[in-house]
Symmetry: C2
Subunit: 349 residues, 2 copies
């Protein structure tokens, strides 16, 4: 089977597929014993920095479950290191940037190195993983953080509930904010293009924190940069997924910024989301907590997502955010198998 006729890539292009393709954000991760075993010997940054390890982790869920796509194992934050920002992952506390951006002068000091230099190990991992996956007919997704989410981390210096420091910077220094977002957009677009050249069959932008913004602020402070990334990447011909969370109140604005597929979280019903998104493919949107729930509940809610998509071409089944730690792998298997089986029955050829 050629990759182009894979259910996942058909759905990205809104063409009818033999079943609703399904993959899960963070399908490789701590909930898998294989991954935890590897992590006893290597840190996250070590795995990302060693292409053969990154490939091993990328393939773990593909070997364990019949998912319709793989996603390269990496993280959105290593991109920032090339700008001159220090990054570490503190156990139990998440990412920490030692020298966050706090002034316009800090913005102007940030470098914009080419992806080949900045994320060389991930590009090599994409090359190796796609060589493994292509003969198996499994498309590989490359990704990057969206400029806004990266700016949030760069300014805040770590995770946050509301990213108040980042938003205050945005309001106080609109010109420097623009310069920061342009630098990030360049880095992000360059990284995505390089991943496409290295063999990625699809690309995804993760805008996990877009939901801290109002629609008007998204439109003014974020949208133009997203559009610039999407337009640049469109030249590759590789479909681009624009994923965000907490944006259920203004998905039309998010979709207007660009992307072939709009990824949505569980806080908005899929049919309502699709109406806002318009003529675009859609990805989502089961609450990740349901993978810890009893099967009757998990199945009922997965069915509800499928029913709301109504077999319309262009639906990629996914969670509304990443797989949670302590998720039973058996539930992932049952969900993936169920989505494929049930949607195969529902498709009208």
């Amino acid at each position: 089977m050629s990759l182009e006729s894979s259910p996942f890539l058909l759905a990205c292009r809104r063409q009818p597929a033999p079943h609703t393709p399904v993959w899960l954000m963070r399908q490789a991760g701590r909930y898998m014993p294989e991954y935890r075993e590897l992590r006893t010997r290597h840190s996250i940054l070590e795995i990302i920095g060693a292409p053969e390890l990154a490939v091993e982790v990328t393939l773990q869920p593909v070997n364990a479950f019949p998912v319709d796509a793989a996603i390269i194992f990496s993280d959105i934050l290593p991109l920032l290191r090339g700008m001159g920002l220090s990054l570490e992952f503190v156990a139990g506390d998440g990412p920490r940037i030692g020298n966050p951006v706090r002034s316009p002068a800090d913005v102007d000091r940030l470098a914009v190195p080419p992806a080949e230099e900045n994320v060389a190990s991930t590009l090599e991992a994409v090359r190796l993983a796609s060589a493994e996956l292509t003969p198996r007919g499994v498309p590989l997704i490359g990704f990057a953080g969206a400029p806004f989410t990266l700016a949030c981390y760069a300014i805040e210096g770590g995770g946050s509930r509301q990213f108040e420091t980042a938003k205050a910077f945005m309001y106080e220094h609109p010109a420097a904010w623009g310069r920061l977002m342009r630098k990030l957009s360049t880095l992000v677009a360059d990284s995505l293009m390089a991943q496409a050249r290295a063999g990625a069959s699809a690309l995804q932008l993760f805008d996990s924190w877009a939901g801290v913004l109002s629609a008007a602020d998204y439109e003014r402070y974020v949208g133009p940069y997203m559009t610039s990334v999407c337009e640049t990447v469109a030249a590759t011909g590789v479909p681009l997924i624009s994923f965000s969370t907490g944006t259920g109140g203004y998905l039309g604005t998010v979709a207007a910024a660009g992307g072939d597929v709009i990824g949505v979280d569980w806080r908005v019903p899929l049919d309502v989301a699709w109406q806002q998104v318009g003529d675009r493919a859609i990805m989502g949107n089961l609450d990740p907590v349901l993978l810890k729930a009893p099967w009757r509940e998990l199945r009922a809610q997965a069915d509800d997502v499928l029913d709301r998509a109504a077999g319309r071409p262009g639906h990629i089944f996914n969670l509304g955010h990443g797989v949670l730690q302590h998720t039973p792998p058996e539930n992932v298997r049952r969900l993936v198998e169920h989505v494929r089986t049930r949607s195969a029955r529902a498709v009208v050829a």
Copy 2:
């Protein structure tokens, strides 16, 4: 001026008011030097437990700014102590419940004491504060946590980004979840009714974490209990504000559950929100971070909120969530004065 003709209560009833009434959630709090001074001598729970101190804090913003309503100084969590749950506020880490609900048997052990016993000091504070405020024509708002948000804390045992433990309990033990929500609804409704009897002119339900749910889960696991609280409280004739955050994707579902006024956060444009909410008053919805932004930005965005309300009767200006720590009090004053002045010009008599 009688309270009933105050701009705030007119707006609650969707009657034309001489200006758009404005008050701010958490308008009494750490950003005020007067409050911080009191906190050097008393803990939060001490202030809540001493009616004269709670009244002092309640009046601080009313004395400092021309706000159109006061809200009794209290917290949503002390209600849980009467159920048999231990509560402490850990500096820098927020609330902590030492013996959270983790099994159906835990639910059945929870007591449901009457409000007069459970929140006696808050009721006394409402009596004293309303006696002070009524001659000044300032309505006093009483409040309680909404059953879902209280259940989140009771099960999770503290704050959380996604309240995964609470949601997993809800899915795994739907019958015990129902019993928990019924107990909480009884406590909440009883507390609100008692506050109305003690002199509160309006009441508010805080459902700060409703936004972690999907619309379908809100409808099934939360809506019926909200409706029960709203219907019980309606007998008092006192208007009820139903406030939630992160629900921009399904405000129609939230509004359908009840409430005279629907409080919305900044993640959905006010006009879009009002369309979903329908024939109800609306409260909101400026991003609290803007109170730290330069005045040009703060004013522009406050004007945008007012413009989206378009002078339609039934708009209460507020933030989309509480005032943040380190907010300059001067910005609160400018915002409150600006909203009153600008909306007074805009009203057509």
